[in-house]
Symmetry: none
Subunit: 199 residues, 4 copies
């Protein structure tokens, strides 16, 4: 693939991300995406062949970007607790970015029930996220700061469930200022889940 093609695809992908986040999955049209990218409708087809393809690549692209960002974040720290906090900082990045990502991601989750391609891509994202969770929990166990008897993978899944559930709740509650609240609550709950009793 040539460089120009790469640039164009990225440009259109970003436009699609903007368009879906603004209009929602089923209201988005190729025209919207094209307008957002500042190109003609034909160009979008030229590079992606179909609307379905754009959306597939969009889901793959944004979940991979999120994952890589989270991965980088935890790699910068050494201890389990620090990594956990860095992870949550990465996840709860900012109200604006969370709103954008989760509104689009929620659309895809809804579509996934009935679309095996979306399911597969999301499954991959889940496994990546669980992987981060496992890494942190295992380290914490080794360090002796997390309980030994709990199942690592199970807790990793619960961690992600809590995170997704929290951000979806936050998104729907429509109050920007609750972002910090959900972030703090999430961290506390996860620590409760994993740590020895602090008493």
């Amino acid at each position: 693939m040539k460089k120009k093609e790469e640039v164009r695809k990225t440009q259109i992908m970003k436009a699609a991300y903007n368009a879906v986040s603004e209009l929602g999955y089923d209201n988005v049209t190729l025209q919207h995406i094209a307008d957002n990218a500042g190109v003609s409708k034909g160009v979008v087809h030229y590079y992606f062949n179909s609307k379905q393809n754009i959306l597939l690549e969009l889901l793959e692209s944004i979940t991979n970007q999120i994952y890589r960002y989270e991965l980088e974040a935890i790699d910068k720290h050494q201890t389990a607790i620090e990594k956990l906090k860095a992870y949550l900082d990465a996840v709860f990045i900012s109200p604006q970015k969370n709103r954008k990502f989760y509104s689009v991601y929620l659309d895809f989750l809804a579509q996934a029930n009935g679309n095996e391609d979306y399911k597969r891509i999301n499954m991959n994202f889940y496994e990546n996220c669980w992987g981060i969770g496992k890494e942190i929990i295992e380290l914490g166990k080794k360090e002796g700061v997390f309980r030994q008897e709990s199942d690592t993978l199970t807790n990793a899944k619960m961690m992600r469930a809590l995170i997704d559930g929290s951000l979806i709740q936050w998104l729907t509650c429509n109050e920007e200022e609750l972002h910090q609240f959900y972030k703090d609550s999430c961290i506390n709950s996860i620590l409760n889940l994993l740590q020895y009793s602090k008493e």
Copy 2:
């Protein structure tokens, strides 16, 4: 409202629930709903004025039904722990019913970002759910089985986040047999969240 009208609306509502759960929010047409209800397309319009209205009432109807069912479940028990288990039993009612409800509910959550009416209805559902959570947690604190220092509403919100996050995760993982796993994990995690350390 006459009795016949009531009957008709209920019939159409059920048809809409079936149709949306089978086809997904954006693939559903009035024709599908009408077919599923065994009536003509005109009837659907006659009683609901617009497709949007059907879907609005559908969201309201199913969230209220779920809430009432959960409320009844916890009312049958006396202690916090029993109520909590009854609540989770009601929430994780069965793979079939969870699949149906959560696939439709997820569609609505996705739509809610950009539709104030959906947001309002879902907000109401959230508050109802938090109410249940609060009731259980407060009772548990009174009984002395749950930690006193934690914030009740916050924990109620985290409970619901964990539940929704778990069922969404389960839905997308596409493995029916994980239903029990997510239910058990959810209960354990919530207990961890609320109880004194068991050591």
Copy 3:
């Protein structure tokens, strides 16, 4: 099928016939057909489900109509020669009608190469036409006016080849007044093909 539906389909079919004869197979749009029928574009889909269906039914309809007309024509006469002339009268019905039918029919023949449905319908038309030819030739043999030694089906096929070839030639030559010439030449040639030498 209700009467009204029948009427509508006929109306649209006629409009499609007009539109294809005027614009040609690949230039015809649903809008043209709808305009010609005086209805909206949606109606055409309502009754035929797809453009392809309209055209399939059109081919079937016009070939069947032509066949029935030809059949009626020869049934009104008793002798082979009279039947043959009636057949040719029916085939060379008028410049206007021949132009219309053959321009549309030629379009379908061209499409048939690569469309099994069209092929099947045309094959049926061919067999009907050969049937007429066979009936006339067999009668002529019985009457003793046509040569005995020739193969009936082969001659029936050649008769139709001559007719189609003539009308296609006439159509392309673009001179209305040659219609009579081709009709006469066709009759003479067919008689030459079938009869004993007149010397």
Copy 4:
């Protein structure tokens, strides 16, 4: 015109012939033609200015080639009967080549009704074909093997009608092995048309 240009145009013309014979007149795109020729879309436009032009030149080219081939064929023989058989051998050259040529030619005939350029080119082809017929028939008359009283041009036209009608019929009947049957039947019918009675 430079040599390179000539080569390029021939190359594209052949590609167009292949493409139209495979895909049909209305399904062919410039991309198909370009792909088939192993060049870019731009080249096709550069040498022909428009798609319409390619097709025009294609019709002219293939009809001229067929005509020259038929002409050469009859020039190799001396007597009318021999020339006639050579002509039919040239026309019914092979199932493969006939299928290719007639499927494309039929497409053009269908288009001709409404396109004066195609009509003109085909008219020229007709006149060339009639010329061959006339040459053969006149020779036969001179030789005394064909009937004197018949009109030469008329019979030449009927000959061509029979040939075209036969090959179109053969094409649509979709049975390769009938090729020989139609060839034989055509020769016999033409001889019947032209010769003195054999009794």
